[in-house]
Structures are given as C-alpha cells and as structure tokens.
Assembly symmetry: C2
Homo-oligomer: 375 residues x 2
C-alpha cells in the first residue's frame, strides 16, 4: 500500500456535498428502503430525521452514547457513566440457516452495534412479534439459540415483550433487540473519525452471511459448506483496544463498524462521507471464501455488498495497524484479519477500489435492494 491513488477528473466531479438532506421522491416504501444502502440512507436522513432528529440521533452512528452523572440526569459532569445504546429488528428469512438462526442473529447483531462503540455489551431487551400458528418447538429452538449466544457474548436479556398477530399478519417471527453496554475506557469512536494516512483493517472474509441466507432460501440448487458468520465481536474489540493502549494509545483507533446490510462497500462509504476523506481499498487484499465467491458469481452478487454478521472494519492510525492485525489474529473471530486499504485526502466522500488489473473504480453505496430480509 505504498502507491497513492491520484483522483481522476471523473472522481473530482463525483465529489459532491452529499450530506445535504436528501429529497425523498418515493411515495411508498420499497424493499430498497430496508437495504442498508442508498435508499435507506435517504429515507432515514430525509424522513426519519426530519421528525425525530436531535443531536444524538443526527450522528447516525449504529449506537447512541448516553452520559449519566452519578446524581442522576444526563449531564457532562466529571466522570459520568457512559453507556452505548442500540437497537435492531430482525426479520431474516428463513429463520433457521447454516451457522445460526434469527435468535443468534438478534443477540449478536445488537451486541456488535454496541461493541463497535468500544462498549462492553451487558444487557439486552427482546421484543418478539409472533405469527399465530408459529410452532412452539421452533420458538424454543430460537430461544435456546439466544441463550447460548447471550452466554457467549456475556450479555443478559433483562426485559422483554411478546406480541402475537393473526395468521398472515406477520411472517412467522420477528425479533427486536436493543442493548446497553458500558463504555469503560475513554474511547471516542465515530464514523467521522477517519484521518488521512489511516489504515483500513478488515477482520475476516466477506459475504458469508448473505450468501448463506440466499442459498438457504433454495434460490440456488447449490450444495455448499458456507455458513453464516454470525458472531459476537465484543472480545475482538476489547483485544484491539487493549493492544492499541499497549503499543500507542486508545486514540489510535478511530472508527469501528460491523458491515452488515449493504456490506463493506456501504460501511466504508458511510465512513468516507462522515469523515470527508477518500477510502482506498485493494481488491487483492479482500478475503472472500472460494465457495462464497462462486455462489456470488452465480447469484450476480458482489461480495463487497453482501451482509456480514461477524465482521469488523477498523480505521486506525498507520502506526498501530500491524500490531492490531497481529493481535486480532489471535482471537477466534479475527483469524483472517488484514489491512485492506488506507485513507487518503481526495476525492472526499469516495471509496475507491484498486482492482487486480491495476485499474481503479469507484465503489458506491449499495443502490436498490439485492438481498431483502437478510437479517
């Protein structure tokens, strides 16, 4: 990664003020609005924020950071308790798939939204929407899976809710989890934290979860060994923060994200936009399992856009990148960690992929919807 990416005139034109409030022209909800990609960002920024916006929500991180002084209230007093708070609903279909199920996903997904804030995930809420006629045996299987995932992640489900809708009013089972974690160290991780010169680390292979779901739907007549990568990332994050403290400082870790819906491409675009930098990645550094690559080719998918449920993207100071990668590889969920790119100054707000053939192309956010109900 010693080469520098020189923006072409094409890229210069592309560099535009994309943080304007988008003008949502749709009149009805489309599947693309749930994609994690461009349409969803437009819906969130152009509709949700118009009504619900406030300084915390406006940050558009995957979590909120809440501060509580000991006397109660939410103030900035000396040494407040800092908590991370996040929520996700899970509507994946099928609800059981190789490597996991909706229950394991519902625990890990929210745990990971907390973990990438630097928090230690501690408590979950769980809201179940059940379709009349759903087999209790399947519910038990999902709950057993949540129990195991919670134990693995070190969290407890402490409050919950159950609703039932009539047959046909919902598809089997939807789960919402929210989570609370405590931010014990003085980290300040943010999508706007990327700095020119930083390295981009990816914790492992791309596309395993999304491809697994597509195959599990039987849309491909494929016999593969592919499994969802759904996993809790709290321990991996703690290892990284510990290593950064050891070799330099916590401040060397600028941004952590778990690239779920919309894939790594969308996540990196969010960071490039929020930080007003260019993120340059190299195709030959991006790990994709051979079976996943094959399945994606048949499905017409690009692994960069496929959802992951146990992967981490980190933007870190160049000086600590190698030490962090080495430490991550000692963690079960970071064995394939590597530097996949770096942060450059121009063109701002752009993700550029240097291909195997030496060319460079812009990698935009996911447009449209390729994988509905992937999580």
């Amino acid at each position: 990664m010693t080469e520098t990416f020189t923006p072409s005139p094409l890229f210069q034109r592309v560099e535009r003020a994309r943080r304007r409030k988008p003008n949502v022209r749709d009149t009805h909800v489309t599947l693309a609005h749930g994609s994690g990609g461009k349409a969803m960002h437009e819906l969130i920024e152009g509709v949700f924020l118009e009504y619900l916006g406030n300084p915390i929500l406006d940050r558009l991180e995957d979590h909120a950071v809440l501060e509580f002084s000991r006397a109660g209230g939410a103030t900035d007093r000396d040494a407040p308790v800092r908590l991370a708070y996040a929520t996700d609903s899970y509507v994946v279909t099928p609800i059981f798939f190789p490597g996991g199920d909706i229950g394991r996903l519902a625990v890990n997904g929210t745990v990971n939204d907390l973990a990438v804030s630097g928090a230690r995930p501690l408590y979950l809420s769980a809201g179940f929407i059940l379709e009349e006629g759903f087999p209790l045996e399947d519910l038990r299987r999902v709950l057993a899976s949540m129990r195991d995932a919670a134990a693995e992640a070190g969290v407890q489900v402490v409050t919950g809710d159950t609703k039932v809708v009539q047959r046909g009013g919902a598809d089997k089972l939807f789960i919402n989890t929210s989570g609370v974690g405590v931010i014990e160290s003085p980290v300040r991780l943010s999508a706007s934290g990327a700095r020119v010169g930083d390295k981009v680390i990816l914790s492992g292979t791309l596309g395993d979860h999304g491809t697994t779901i597509m195959i599990a739907r039987g849309e491909l007549e494929l016999e593969t060994e592919i499994e969802s990568d759904t996993a809790p990332l709290g321990s991996l994050v703690r290892d990284m923060l510990d290593e950064a403290s050891r070799v330099a400082s916590l401040d060397a870790v600028h941004c952590l994200r778990d690239p779920t819906r919309g894939g790594v491409a969308t996540t990196l675009n969010e960071i490039a936009l929020a930080s007003e930098v260019c993120i340059e990645i190299r195709e030959d550094r991006i790990p994709v399992r051979e079976e996943v690559r094959g399945a994606c080719e048949i499905l017409g998918l690009e692994p960069l856009y496929v959802a992951n449920e146990g992967k981490l993207v980190a933007i870190v100071s160049a000086g600590v990148a190698d030490a962090l990668v080495a430490r991550m590889r000692q963690n079960a969920y970071g064995r394939d960690a590597r530097v996949i790119g770096e942060v450059t100054a121009e063109p701002r707000g752009i993700v550029a992929l240097r291909t195997g053939f030496g060319g460079t192309r812009i990698v935009d956010m996911l447009v449209g919807e390729q994988l509905p109900r992937i999580c």
Copy 2:
C-alpha cells in the same frame, strides 16, 4: 372501604401455589399468547424464562433496573447510577384511531413502562418494520405523532433501525421501542411490594383505549366520542412521589403499574400473586365512561379486562392515599383518580370484586384473547 372481605371456602380452595413454573401444553402460538393475560404469562414463565431467565428478567416487572457504578461495570458500589430499561413492540390495528396512532402509542407505552419504575424517562430506541408498499405519507404522519409524543413526555429517540419486508410479510407497520430512564430517588417499586392494609388507587376511567380500537375497526356500527387515553404518565408519577415524600416518605408508594393488555384485572392479579396478598376492589368505585360501558356491553367486554394506555394503578400505604389522590387530580392525567380498593391478607394471590349488589366474586387474569392487536 371499612368492610373486610371474609374469604369463603371457595376462595380458600382457589388460593394455590400459582408461582410454579407453568406447563405449556400448546404446540403452536395462539392469539391468547399475546393477550397480556393468563396464556401469555404461561408462555413467558413456562417457555421464555426457561431459556432466557436470569435474576433481573425473573422478576417479571415491566422494566428492568440496571445499576452502574461510575467507574463502569455493573456493581453494587456506593451511589451507583440506577436506570430503568423497558421494551414493547406495537402491532395495533388500525394504525390510526381516535385519540392517537401507533406512533403515539409506541412512545407513551414504553415511557409508561419506565415511569412506573419511578424513573424519569429520557431516551428511546425505535425499530420500524415496514411492509413494502406502505405509504410514506402515513409514515410521516406516524413520525410526526412520535415527535409530538416524545416532546410531551420529555424523551428523545436516540437510536433506531428500519427493516422492510415484502408485501404480505407484515401488516403495514410494526414499531418496537425500548427506553432508558434514570431513577433519581431511592424508590423501590415492585409488583411484590403490596402490603396488607395498603390502598389501591386508580388514576382514571377504564377501557377507553381498547374500546376505541374495537370501534375503529368497524366491528361495531357505532358513532361515539370515545378516544384512546394514550398518554405519558411520567409527570403523574413524579407528582405522586413528590407528594408521598412531602406527607410521609417515598417508601409509602409500594407499587405502580400501567394496566395495558389484560386490563386492570390482569395487572391486579399480577400484583396479588407477586405480593402474596388479596386485592379487594369495589365495583362502584371504578370509573368507566358511559359510552365505554355501553360499547363494552354490546361487544361483550368487561371494562376491567380492556386495555388502557394512559392509566395508572398504585398500591400505597393507607396513610398517604387521600393526599396522593388529591395531588393526582391536579395533574391532567389524574383528574379522575380515586381509591378503588385495598389490600387484605387472605385469600392470597386473589383479586376480589365487591359488586354493586353486595356480592363478591373472584376476578381472575384475562383468559383467552378478547382484543388481538390492541397495542
């Protein structure tokens, strides 16, 4: 309320060890499992707790209480920050109804689960599950309503999530909210806090919300002025705690609950069971609007079992009851507050209703499902 209720032999037999883990014999989810009543309690205690149980969840309150020491972590150290944490999913149909909509309900419902812990509600998460094809105009209307409800309740939506399912995979719009509030005063409110001699206070009329929804569905050809009572109860709770401190002590307030699904009957049963006491209420003290009473008669509903969304049941020391009622009546959401009954020793775990004719009958938890998707 000077008469004492003498348990008959019938009641003695009824008084049984109901806190045993229930044996769930159903093989599939039924609408009754979402009723808020007996089947839901059996599902929660017999299935959910088997897998997800832990000391906090096992309390089966509408909220969890989390304690954080300032150094981070969750310990019992001196003067920790105490937070209330709750979640609810909203699947009400129709989504717009007289007096509110699913958005207002989703804010107030979770705000109230927090408020009855004695917490000041502060932050909400919001997870939206949208059906493909849902009109964005309706979404905007719901969001505007959430904005207004949040402002009224003094809370902010700080983190969120949006999922879209294909047409027919969900019915229009489901919303999950979770909430975090801070418990600033040393209250210890719990369903197990009722003591013999306590008074039972109800904050206002029963059945407005549930009846409104049934009429809004067009199941009755009825022209009425009935509106949902959906309202945030945080200020009412603060007034009550303030008054209790003023005239006696915070400890005089033993339990607060908002009687939603399953109605006041189910809520009082939960308290009677958890506190191992009898709760005796008087029919002639229970306020029900004339139109609601009429609609309930036509619908074959008992107001005691109909869902409320802006009402409070309080179990308080007899000495403070009148002062609390007087103070509640000064609050817009407590104008019809009154004492409706008292706590007696026997038969334990039972709610008894003294009828207008001088008879007494057992009021059990809601059995079956009378009002699916009421919230």
